[in-house]
Amino acid sequence: MSFLEYAPAPESTAILNLKPEYGLFIGGEFVAGGGESFSTISPATEKPIARIANADSGDVDRAVAAARRAYDKTWSKLSGRDRGKYLFRIARLVQERARELAVAESLDNGKPIKESRDVDVPLVAAWFFYYAGWADKLDHAGLGANPRSLGVAAQVIPWNFPLLMLAWKIAPALAAGNTVVLKPAEQTPLTALLFAEILQQADLPAGVVNILTGAGDTGRALVNHPDVNKVAFTGSTSVGREIARSTAGSGKKLTLELGGKAANIVFDDAPIDQAVEGIVNGIFFNQGHVCCAGSRLLVQENVHDEVVERLKSRLSTLRVGDPLDKNTDVGAINSAEQLARIRELSAVGEDEGAERWSPACELPAEGFWFAPTIFTNVSTSHRIAREEIFGPVLSVLTFRTPAEAIAKANNTPYGLSAGIWSDKGSKVLAVADKLRAGVIWANTFNRFDPASPFGGFKESGYGREGGRHGLAAYLKGSK
């Protein structure tokens, strides 16, 4: 027997108390949806988890009306201090129900339980705690005295970090005094609905947060609703473009957090073992379903072979499998469509002449799975070096000088994030200064903190989430 084939250590799902079907959360209550309901499935087994209501345009009208009513009658009249109390209460409830939320997230999304337990859910609580603190300090947000809230915010979030993206959207909106209609992705609505239960538990005034489940049509109806003052969207660049077009001239304030093709730059003086960890964390965290994933590895030529060799031996220890097993490092791909796209782009990578490598690993028969993959011999013109794959696929390119690294890193329509690995602080700062990306990590990758703003350059979107800057998206100055 091999010790490294650790015995199964599954997290129990007994803690979950799921209903067989979920309605829409409008005006503080669960109500039936007008559209045909759909099933949300576990991507690891393809088994259905629950029936989910589908909001039609009538539901969108009702939800926006509920949010408007709550804004006019209650939320905009509460003091910042009182809004903060609700947010603190939500944060504490998230912590209390952390295990349940983590299990639900891994079940519905396919991400490993160690990530939902140690990253997603703790960050969700941190986000609410952080913005709870801001609620009564908006005068100091840098927008002048007495900044005003916007009104009703329409928020549409993706499936890669379902609950975390919800927190990124809802926490600053509520702290700033807005009310919310939020649409989670149709692939991963579960934790948003559990979150609605938490709002009931927290006694949040009815209508302050409304949650509509449904697909693209629901989202379209929501962002185009005339009584919405603010649209916040995280997702693909193509949908982001559509939203930018449809909201143009409507007076709606817009923030977009879109795709990325981040460069992770490894210099020859980097702490190699930690850089390898950072590369792994950069692209295989959350199966690579991360908009800021370090999907382009730029390695200095003279250490290329060593880095790739170490990377390969490290990948051989990654454990792909049951997301609910506490030892799983890489979980299931979120959906059949996403899996098809990853497969297609990987095939293109091979056709274009890049060298494909994956560690030997047994993938489960049921569900959507893709082995961690690296491509070497990648050129900047290859599609796998240009397009966002949004999966566990790393493209390795080389560079010779810092100037070349900067040029290659910036040669992308995106500009969300980048990473730099070097033992030399001055070099890190000099390179960071020239990279066109919203977030730049030095000697680490994929680290998030509610106090740190996050957002993109170019086609990665505009507006910032997190930190003091994140408040500006939900406030207007009094001047």
Partner: protein, 335 residues
């Protein structure tokens, strides 16, 4: 640096750095090693520490931990009786379950070696892979503050008395002030003092005392230095200085032996010592070994735990696995 006097043990350094081995080339080599990012290293160690080892894996791990223990007593108050009692415990760790494996070695001060050898009798491994080895700390353990002549005499004495393994300490003062050549020469000389009359060598474990080296960069340099000078094992600590063994330091040392193996094909052992008291902690080390150097390192000639109280916790956990309930401290023997 007296490389011209160095004998067989300096072979590794000569092969890697060339015949003109001088203090300068050694220093350049050690200072040219890639740096260690402390945050990243500790994060990785924490990640390895969060592995969940259950059921059959746990049972295997508990037995493996026992097989890798250097059961240790290093007190000024040690007596021959205490050493005999320790040896008895090493031979039969759990009187209520004779299927319990034996530990790898007993580790004592040099003057206690004859009593340990005598108490082991036919169970003394004496360099074979059957039985229990006797390890002796030497070279003015734990401070290492004595002249080289005294350190060598200390070592030779323990080897003559039948010690199979010598745990030496490096001169941290010399290392921290950059006199790598001096540290190198001393390790080479001690290794030579481990030579027995028949030409074989007692195994040499080099204690870095990482708690006094302060930075991970220093730990990495000291690890390479010790391997280049001929150490068979690199060991974290004496147990007399806090912090003793930590998971990040052990991870770093395992990365060095893994790299040495990639470079030369030769396998060097690692021994974390001091501060590992619970089975839970020890299992984290097993995971770290298996996922860093590889599972083949989980053998007594490549990995050891320097510990005393750890054994009893492992025995309690072992009893819990077989009976389904926890017993208590009175159901395992004190040594």
């Amino acid at each position: 640096m007296t490389i011209e006097n160095a004998v067989r043990p300096a072979e590794r350094a000569v092969q890697l750095l060339g015949d003109d081995l001088t203090e300068t080339t050694l220093k350049r080599y050690l200072e040219g090693l890639p740096g260690v990012d402390a945050v990243g290293l500790e994060q990785r160690a924490a990640g390895l520490g969060s592995r969940s080892i259950k059921t059959t894996s746990k049972a295997w791990a508990l037995d493996k931990i026992i097989e890798l223990i250097d059961l240790t007593t290093l007190e000024g108050a040690d007596t021959p009786g205490k050493v005999r009692s320790l040896v008895a415990k090493a031979l039969v760790p759990d009187a209520s379950d004779l299927s319990t494996p034996r530990v790898a070695a007993v580790c004592v001060y040099g003057d206690m070696v004859p009593y340990a050898v005598e108490a082991l009798g036919s169970a003394h491994a004496a360099g074979t892979d059957q039985g229990i080895n006797v390890a002796a700390v030497a070279t003015a353990f734990p401070s290492g503050r004595a002249s080289l002549a005294v350190k060598l005499a200390d070592t030779a004495d323990a080897v003559a008395a039948g010690a199979d393994e010598i745990d030496m300490v490096i001169d941290r003062g010399a290392f921290l002030s950059g006199r790598y050549g001096l540290v190198f020469d001393q390790i080479v000389a001690v290794k030579e003092a481990c030579r027995r009359a028949d030409g074989t060598y007692a195994h040499l474990k080099v204690i870095l005392e990482t708690g006094e080296l302060n930075t991970y960069d220093n730990v990495r340099r000291a690890s390479w230095l010790s391997i280049l000078a001929g150490g068979d094992f690199i060991k974290t600590s004496t147990g007399k200085v806090a912090p003793a063994a930590t998971l990040p330091v052990t991870l770093l040392m395992l990365e060095v032996v893994r790299d040495w193996h990639l470079l030369t094909g030769e396998k060097v052992g690692v021994k974390p010592a001091g501060g590992i008291r619970s089975s839970k902690d020890a299992i984290k080390y097993l995971v770290t070994v298996a996922e860093t150097a590889g599972e083949e390192w989980l053998q007594p000639h490549l990995f050891r735990f320097g510990a005393s109280s750890l054994l009893n916790d492992v025995l309690l956990q072992r009893q819990k696995l077989s009976t389904g309930h926890y017993s208590g401290a009175d159901y395992v023997t004190i040594d």
